[in-house]
Symmetry: C2
Subunit: 258 residues, 2 copies
DNA sequence: CGTCAGTTTGACCTAGTTCAAGGCCAGTGG
DNA sequence: CCACTGGCCTTGAACTAGGTCAAACTGACG
């Protein structure tokens, strides 16, 4: 782990949660030609039908993938956090089949496909780690599918909360058992296949039962074990490494099970 | 395309729907050390928490990924057809987070991870094509998520039907506008987040409206345009190549749009 | 010709939706 | 400083898509 993670390149930080990088590898990442951009909230980064020639890394802030459907419906497929490359797939799939946008004001950086390809070719371990990330991403999609398809609202929200906590924990973006996640109840609904009204009521239930606390943008896990149970949460699909798991246990309570 | 696709190695056939293979590449695939196995219906190929040391290709038949949840619920994540390698991800993710099983009696073959890795390293275009497939797989998951989260039962079934038709078409497993897909209404429900009773009623509605015909195991697209509309189907996410798209149009009707 | 897996039907029930109104608060502009 | 706005959250009441339960039907197969 780097000595001063908050100053490290977000991509370095993310990859180091998965493998130990050599000095050489770290340099290669830091040498990537980045075109940084600061975006406001709710701006699209890439749109469906685009044919990108670059990938984007989230440096700071949050992004989401989503798709707009008939009748004004929307499905949010995932939330992305610092260090994620949500459109890595554009290296292989010419045309985008969904949108990627910002959730809040964010800093992102674009990397030309060529640079990405030669990084991966020249540093197979980095390539492997990126693929690994992409596969974990697919595992998250499956788990969301299970949530939406087979869990009721209460468990769905609980499940998402468990997931976000652990993911943010891994890159050091939690504060004890709390974290910032600036999404509205409507966005929560669009991610979970629920109406915002129902999200509201269910959130109240979760708060009332003492599992979580939630105020616009700031989430706290109050009772991890109960939350986990309500969510029937099993972290296997996150494919966390041991260090991340240990750190999460420490943040929650020595007795926490993950 | 190979002259006699029905006799070609299923993996060759699948990859050739994506790129032209050189003789060399074809040989490399055919030289893979396969351990074939014939399985009955409803048998697991790999289970959650397993740590596989090999991947499996579907040679003949159908497979599904799924997860069992509390209270006897089940979510099916995807259906797999000849040529698919549903657990390619096990190359990078040590432990399985879901099950893969057969839908009907099937022939599958196991390939050691090592052999897979050296195939991909020695033949980068094959590696790329396999990755591409994995990414298309992830795109399917997202689309299923949108279906389950934001479409109602009628559109959900319609959407799945469009998808299956095009996928099977691509590997030559359709017969005009019909295809065999041996799944029960209960499995359909578990894939779409519905109860089997509701699947039954909705299926009747789709048949009654003249969009499809459906008898246990044999599906026919009766009115593609109407089906597509009911499903609000946009094939972008399948990332089909032109040849596949053209072939599908031909199978449906010269006026079909995909 | 009985059994078993799958499909179909009916009746009733509920989780979640929709619509519409109100409340809260942070930011803005006068 | 205050009034005004615009997002977002909250609440209530009425409604519906889809679930559950249980029974009957169908057809393939031994």
């Amino acid at each position: 782990m780097s000595q001063n993670p908050s100053q490290a390149h977000p991509l370095v930080r993310k990859l180091e949660s998965v493998l130990e990088l050599s000095a050489d590898e770290r340099e290669a990442i830091e040498a990537l030609p980045l075109t940084p951009r600061t975006l406001k909230a709710d701006q699209d980064i890439v749109r469906a039908y685009d044919q990108p020639t670059q990938c984007c890394v989230i440096l700071e802030g949050f992004a989401l993938r989503y798709k707009l459907m008939n009748g004004g419906k929307r499905q949010i497929f995932s939330f992305h956090i610092a260090g994620d490359i949500p459109d890595l797939h554009s290296l292989y799939l010419e045309v985008m089949d969904h949108n990627i946008g910002t959730l809040v004001g964010s800093r992102v950086a674009f990397i030309p496909h060529d640079a990405m390809r030669s990084l991966m070719a020249g540093h197979p371990r980095i390539g492997d780690a990126l693929w690994r990330n992409a596969l974990v991403d697919a595992a998250l999609s499956r788990e969301w599918m299970a949530s939406i398809g087979r869990r009721e609202a209460y468990g769905r929200i609980a499940h998402l909360m468990c997931e976000l906590f652990l993911r943010l924990q891994t890159i050091g973006l939690t504060d004890g058992s709390s974290f910032e996640m600036p999404i509205t109840q409507e966005e929560l609904g669009d991610a979970l296949g629920l109406s915002s009204v129902h999200v509201n009521r269910t959130l109240q239930e979760l708060r009332g039962n003492g599992l979580i606390s939630w105020t616009r943008g700031y989430w706290t896990v109050v009772d991890w074990e109960a939350l986990k149970k309500a969510a029937e949460f099993d972290a296997t699909y996150l494919h966390l490494h041991d260090a991340a798991r240990q750190a999460a246990i420490k943040a929650l309570s020595p007795a926490a099970t993950i």
